[in-house]
């Protein structure tokens, strides 16, 4: 809750712990979630610092090192045209993480305002938006993402848009539900009674109080978006070669599984590791932000 929404306690407010610091304290107690948080931060650093961290140019080919197994020179081996797998995995983190963050950013950016509008305004606006959300949720996630990517054209940015649009209805539905229960709370009634305009009540009083479930959903949605981007790139609808992405690396590796299994193992492990971390972080955040957990 925000300060605006909390009742004023003159006697104990100085010592009272804020909800966010209480959530942080609870999160710190969960070793799995903290380890996941560290991994997520490291992955982001790896993606940002890829040009300095990667030992080789991820697109530089070499006929002398075609499909070489892991060695001191190439820790994770090389691929079918002699590119360093480790360097491509490190650069691939950029595509995967940016796809995860950008597409969830699109979903939150579109879904939260629409959900807030539907929940707060009610009436025909709510009816229209809710039916639209129902219709979008009736199309299986990956099928819709594939269809959207197909019609938009294959590229990483179009894949991000497709995943973002496909993930939007979940945020609309979640925000709408949370808004419906928040708008009957006393602090919203009080804000209305003192004459605040509707937009101010929605943005200053309702929105800050529904952030915790949205944060949990966002963390889990990033995990889903990373898998979805990898899936689209695996199918050839996401990142286009020779630019590295974990999904497209797996697509190529499939053809050389008998001769060079390391080509398939590491990019797949990277997807697994990143998704696991975001899932664990989401689970930890849910427990830490849930007021029912002490």
């Amino acid at each position: 809750m925000t300060a605006a929404a909390l009742p004023v306690e003159t006697t104990s407010s100085a010592h009272e712990e804020s909800p966010w610091s209480r959530a942080w304290r609870r999160l710190k107690r969960r070793k799995g979630a903290m380890a996941a948080l560290v991994v997520v931060v490291l992955l982001i650093l790896l993606a940002v610092l890829a040009p300095w961290v990667a030992p080789y140019d991820p697109t530089a080919t070499s006929f002398a090192t075609v499909r070489k197994p892991p060695s001191w020179a190439h820790w994770l081996g090389t691929d079918e045209v002699g590119r360093d797998v480790l360097s491509r995995v490190i650069w691939g983190a950029r595509a995967s993480l940016s796809a995860g963050l950008v597409s969830v950013g699109i979903a939150v950016g579109a879904g939260v305002p629409l959900g807030l509008l539907a929940g707060y305004a009610g009436g025909w606006i709510d009816a229209v938006l809710s039916r639209l959300v129902d219709a979008m949720l009736a199309i299986p996630f990956l099928i819709l993402a594939i269809a959207l990517s197909a019609f938009l054209g294959p590229s990483l940015s179009n894949a991000m848009i497709a995943i973002g649009v496909t993930a939007t209805p979940v945020f609309v539905r979640l925000t709408r539900g949370q808004t419906l229960s928040a708008k009957v709370e006393d602090y919203v009634e009080a804000a209305r009674a003192v004459g605040n305009p509707h937009w101010r009540i929605a943005l200053r009083h309702v929105l800050p109080n529904i952030v915790p479930p949205l944060l949990v959903q966002a963390s889990l949605a990033i995990a889903g978006a990373i898998i979805a981007e990898a899936a689209l790139s695996f199918l050839g609808l996401g990142q286009q070669p020779p630019a590295p992405s974990w999904g497209s690396m797996l697509n190529t590796a499939q053809r050389f599984i008998a001769q060079a299994p390391w080509m398939a193992f590491w990019p797949g492990f990277a997807i697994f590791f990143a998704v696991l971390s975001f899932n664990l972080l989401g689970d930890g955040l849910r427990d830490a932000l849930d007021p029912r957990h002490k």
Binding site: A135, I139, L142, I143, L250, I257, F269, N279
Partner: protein
């Protein structure tokens, strides 16, 4: 019950109409003139005009939609430009393959997920529980296309036990059919097993803390009987209804699995159509998948109503 069914059936009509509009609207995302895309290499203005007339591309979009939906309602989903065959016929050819795969995946998921969920709840906060939770995390975080490749490496390349790709129909040779579908079905069922395990665990934990379970224990029943006869029967209600919804998710997962194992099903049809710019097939497959999904949602609601006597009223 009848009024519930009527209301629920009426509710899906606007959803289906909106879904069809969304799917039709996808075509409008195509950059440039759809007639040019459909014509491929052909640039003759006469041919382009013919295509525009044939597909009514010269008409306003709402009119195009009405013609399209009229065709859909009379069973005409359009025609595949690549395969020169009706989309409906293609769907009917490919759907049984995917349904076999999905049914096997569901069976595998049930056999793994439900026992794991029961053990995890009964042995709460023991090594069994932690193990089952780790399995669930693994299942939810593993990309199925990676798992598929790893299984091919292990069982086909290294051990040579199973074929890496291909498909044999169940009616043709059931052993060969099982051999070609067991790996993809496991890949598809893996994530679902994790979801089922989590649902079963939470439903069992809730059931184990109810008064009727306490009463059953007080009566002196064995723990096995309390768990299986009293807790499990009640815990299964929400799990069974969730299964219907998860079956729809399997159709989505089949897209990647069929691609890896070269299985000529629904998923492979949509991917092949995407790459051959066969947009009528993409629209048709998405429409059929969504309709199945909506139908399963309805079935889940009805099953929930039938299983739970309190809702029957």
């Amino acid at each position: 019950m009848l009024s519930f069914l009527t209301t629920r059936l009426l509710q899906i009509i606007p959803t289906l109409i909106l879904v069809s509009m969304l799917i039709f609207g996808l075509q409008q995302l195509l950059p440039g003139d759809p007639a040019l895309i459909m014509a491929g290499e052909e640039r003759d203005p006469k041919v382009l005009a013919e295509i525009r007339e044939q597909y009514r591309l010269d008409q306003p979009i709402p009119v195009q939609y009405l013609y399209w939906i009229k065709g859909v309602l009379s069973g005409n989903l359009g025609e595949s430009m690549r395969l020169k065959s009706g989309v409906g016929t293609l769907v009917m050819q490919k759907l049984p393959v995917t349904l076999q795969l999905a049914a096997m995946a569901l069976l595998i998921a049930i056999c793994i997920g439900i026992p794991a969920g029961i053990v995890s709840a009964v042995k709460k906060e023991t090594a069994w529980d932690y193990g089952a939770n780790l399995f669930a995390l693994w299942g939810l975080s593993t990309p199925n296309f990676w798992l598929g490749i790893l299984l091919i490496f292990l069982f086909s390349v290294t051990l040579g036990w199973l074929p890496a790709s291909g498909y044999v129909r169940l009616g043709e040779n059931w052993q060969a059919s099982l051999a070609t579908t067991i790996m993809p079905a496991f890949v598809l069922g893996n994530a679902l097993a994790a979801v089922l395990m989590r649902h079963t665990r939470s439903a069992m934990l809730q059931a184990m803390s109810t008064d009727y379970v306490r009463t059953a224990r007080a009566k002196g029943l064995t723990e096995g009987r309390v768990v299986l006869k009293h807790a499990l029967r009640n815990a299964m209600t929400p799990v069974i209804t969730l299964l219907a919804l998860d079956f729809g998710t399997l159709l989505s997962g089949a897209v990647l699995t069929e691609q890896i194992f070269t299985i000529p099903g629904f998923g492979k049809l949509i991917v092949d159509s995407v790459f051959n710019r066969d947009y009528a097939v993409v629209q048709g497959v998405v429409l059929v998948t969504s309709s199945i999904y909506i139908g399963l949602n309805l079935l889940a609601d009805i099953a929930y109503m039938l299983i739970n006597p309190r809702l029957r009223g």
